[in-house]
């Protein structure tokens, strides 16, 4: 059975994990962890890894030229570059408020892209 080797990021210990799978994405077991969080991390990271994407989008109509954004929650890791492509094309109209939705359901992830800053304080 295929084994994926990972470093656990749940705490500074950084345990070297071995995650055994059935070759089709199903996790059979995790070894090398020293706590439950490690096991959970190993399972998730191998079967359905997720990340938050943070970036900037162009602001139309003024200062600042770009405003920071993030996906409201984690998105599937394999969608990172698709999200970035949408981020690159997006244009926000000033004024932007922190929390405003910049792109709904960005790159079809089911997650919104939101502003993390306001254009005016």
């Amino acid at each position: 059975m295929p084994i994926v080797e990972l470093t656990c990021i749940s705490c500074p210990l950084g345990c070297p994990l071995k995650v055994e799978t059935d070759g089709e994405g199903k996790v059979l077991g995790v070894t090398g962890n020293t706590c439950k969080r490690g096991e959970a991390y190993g399972r998730k990271e191998v079967s359905a890894p997720e990340r938050t994407v943070t970036s900037t989008v162009r602001v139309e109509g003024g200062v600042p030229p770009v405003i920071s954004v993030r996906t409201r929650t984690d998105i599937p890791k394999e969608k990172i570059f698709a999200v970035m492509e949408a981020v690159r094309r997006a244009v926000a109209k000033a004024p932007v408020q922190i929390g405003d939705v910049i792109i709904k359901n960005v790159a079809d992830t089911g997650v919104d892209l939101i502003a993390t800053k306001s254009t005016e304080p």
């Binding site: 900037t56 989008v57 162009r58 030229p65 770009v66 690159r88 244009v91």
Partner: protein
């Protein structure tokens, strides 16, 4: 056809000094510089010392020009409004048996006409400079030795020349030089420039230009010297420039305060192939640190904020070449140490040769006074407040380490030979020269340059050539 009386090639300290002296006469003068600013070659990276003049061989041009240049410096620094301090220098001797050589040096100085030389015991020297090492057993004190900002001197000379009518063209390299009826024609930046006379002040490239037109070839060898600059917290480690008497271990390096309050260590000396290479080496920087410790103790090496390499234009004959080497072609070549100290005298001398050749008349409108832009942070508080009231931009600090304001950066950009690059602003205002080495202020200075010169941020350069800093906008435009 537009024809100049004189074209000076090179806007380093020598070329700028020649240009300023020429502007005392009536005529059409042009300075051509291949870099984007004044002081981009040998002039910018050296020991920043105005030597007393005891070192050069009696009778040499180096001796003559050094002593004369040193004498001229008080008046000149006042006229140009640039910092110059006669802090004095000590040549320290580390071995008893080498003490007679200090006396020889004093004797040579006397022959060269240097005033204020005095032999000291080790104790006397340490009384003046408590951080001299205990091995120092004697020293020669040279009271007329001084320190200066090489960039300020060069810019001051160049701006004074420009103010008095000399034209300057930057980013313009001279690629061809040939005689024509009554003068010379230069290929410069894709154009022909006609002139009656040429002054070759091209630093490490002076040999190349000379050899284009003269039978008797010159061998100008780039010789590199590496330096370390320490933070201002170390600036008071010595009060004078400390040289080491060349001894058993070879030539030492100097330890000197700078006019800006830093401590300078260096240089090493090695010949190099590439006249444009200013790469430092691990071995060179180690050598600077090791040798500087011979004569001065407890140097706080952790305070190093930057290191750099300078190239000296060494000529095989070991003296300056100041002469009309071909009809109407004047060399200011082989200008290595003490070139900075000698520059005012070289300018006077070469401009004199040109004047005699062309029979130039005096320029009655020549104004020797040039005012530098004010350093706001150095003003007394009340004056500073008044300046800010006059121009609020003097209150907007851009470079926090050196406390340089937006107003001063605008002065630098809109000056008579205005800054067009990040380094140009840095050298004129000191923005970016402090302990963070431009980490915080460079994006802000870039923005100001872009705004004032009506350029996009991607067009702002560090210095000349293709030294762009940011490459493209992340949003809203396609890849260039």
């Amino acid at each position: 056809m537009k024809r100049y009386d004189t074209v000076v090639i090179g806007a380093g300290v020598t070329g700028s000094a020649v240009a300023r002296e020429l502007s005392r006469r009536k005529g059409r003068f042009l300075v051509l510089e291949k870099a984007s600013d004044v002081c981009e070659g040998t002039s910018k990276a050296n020991s920043a010392i105005i030597h007393a003049g005891f070192d050069a061989q009696p009778g040499s041009l180096k001796a003559r020009m050094n002593v004369r240049g040193n004498l001229m410096m008080d008046k000149l620094s006042e006229e140009l409004d640039i910092p110059f301090r006669r802090v004095g220098a000590l040549v320290v001797c580390l071995r008893e048996e080498e003490l007679p050589r200090l006396r020889e040096l004093q004797e040579r100085g006397r022959e060269n006409g240097v005033e204020g030389l005095e032999l000291l015991s080790g104790e006397q020297a340490r009384a003046l400079e408590p951080n001299l090492s205990k091995e120092v057993c004697g020293a020669l004190l040279a009271k007329t030795s001084g320190i200066i900002c090489p960039f300020a001197l060069t810019l001051g000379l160049a701006e004074s020349a420009a103010k008095n009518g000399v034209e300057f063209r930057f980013d313009t390299e001279v690629t061809g030089l040939s005689p024509e009826e009554g003068g010379w024609v230069l290929q410069a930046g894709g154009e022909e420039v006609h002139t009656r006379t040429v002054v070759n002040a091209a630093g490490v490239h002076a040999g190349l230009l000379h050899n284009m037109v003269c039978e008797q070839k010159l061998a100008v060898i780039p010789r590199k010297g590496e330096y370390c600059l320490l933070d201002k917290t170390a600036g008071g480690h010595v009060g004078r420039t400390i040289f080491q008497l060349p001894g058993r271990l070879g030539k030492g390096v100097l330890v000197s305060p700078t006019v800006h309050g830093n401590l300078l260590l260096g240089p090493t000396a090695a010949d190099v192939e590439d006249p444009d290479s200013t790469a430092t080496t691990a071995a060179g920087l180690t050598e600077v640190m090791e040798k500087s410790a011979w004569g001065v103790k407890d140097i706080p090496y952790r305070q190093v904020i930057t290191s750099f390499m300078g190239l000296r234009a060494h000529e095989a004959g070991d003296d300056f070449v100041l002469a009309e080497s071909a009809p109407g072609f004047f060399d200011g070549a082989g200008i290595e140490s003490p070139g900075l100290s000698s520059a005012p005298a070289i300018g006077e001398y070469l401009a004199g040769l040109v004047t005699d050749k062309l029979g130039l008349e005096e320029n009655p409108d020549f104004d020797p006074i040039r005012r530098g832009a004010p350093r706001i942070a150095e003003l007394p508080l009340e004056e500073r407040a008044a300046k800010i009231a006059e121009n609020p931009l003097y209150g907007n600090i851009i470079c926090r380490c050196e406390e340089v304001s937006e107003g001063e950066i605008l002065d630098a950009i809109h000056g008579i030979l205005g800054a067009r690059t990040l380094d140009g602003v840095k050298r004129r205002t000191r923005a970016g020269m402090g302990r963070c080495q431009s980490g915080f202020c460079s994006p802000r200075v870039m923005e100001i340059l872009a705004r004032e010169l009506r350029l996009d941020l991607t067009e702002i350069r560090k210095n000349g050539g293709d030294s762009q800093i940011v490459l493209k906008k992340t949003r809203g435009e396609r890849e260039a």
